[in-house]
Symmetry: C2
Subunit: 152 residues, 2 copies
């Protein structure tokens, strides 16, 4: 029987990027920048591989999208990511002028959108994307739980 | 007459990096990563030149320091920056495990340390650097005022 609620293609792609990250020993988080439904760039967590504390999936995808489009701002682009962004990534999303942010699982321990720093809710935030949380959250949370359970 | 309160060398270097950024048409902000007083890496704002919304001085310096040291974490390193970091950069500073953060001018409109998101004050923040605000704030604010006055 076909899935009655299939996930949008960019979120399915983000989940497959998260799986690839896990296979490489990275915390399984994936991100996709899309415009009008067309994928512009992809990112997976690369902190360990690149020895770069800023190489979260969202930052990797945003930098790749800017390079692909040759522009500093991603106006009219959407970001799809498997986990609620941290404050660093939420700040980058605001700087990049991302139009819509779709994210999977909530992250009460490290998130900066609906938790803690609540970057987009601050008067200092110059741009707020439209927020669409919860898409693919079960698959995302399952990947993260499996990853950390294996390492315990 | 010699300056009775000379700025520490890393902050003077950060200010000269901010001046270099202004000459390149970038918002004048500079940053230096140092360890035991030795400069490990430098950064200036490169958003326009690199068409990269994440290329703030702090991120540029942190990525360069990690590349120079071949490690993901900058434990025992200090960051010197001419302006209060935004939430993106404060998040990166926490991820990088920077030991001490020295910053010049406060940034009530965009800062994320003493304003708005207050990233380091959140329970979701996994690492808080020691904070030393105000060093070189007059020179930093003067550079920023001059830059924006010319563009008005």
């Amino acid at each position: 029987m076909a899935d009655p609620f299939p996930l949008p293609e960019p979120m399915r792609l983000a989940l497959s990027l998260a799986q690839a990250a896990a296979r490489a020993g990275e915390v399984p988080i994936g991100a996709v920048v899309a415009r009008d439904g067309k994928v512009i760039a992809m990112g997976e967590n690369r902190n360990r591989r690149d020895k770069d504390p800023t190489a979260h999936a969202e930052i990797v995808a945003i930098r790749a999208a800017c390079a692909a489009l040759g522009q500093e701002r991603l106006t009219d682009c959407d970001l799809w990511v498997t986990l609620e962004p941290c404050p660093m990534c939420a700040g980058a999303i605001a700087h990049a002028r991302i139009a819509r942010l779709y994210y999977g699982a909530a992250d009460p321990k490290g998130g900066g959108v609906d938790h803690g720093a609540r970057v987009f809710a601050q008067p200092q935030c110059h741009h707020r994307p439209q927020l669409f949380p919860g898409l693919g959250e079960e698959a995302s949370a399952r990947l993260l739980r499996g990853f950390f359970a294996e390492r315990r």
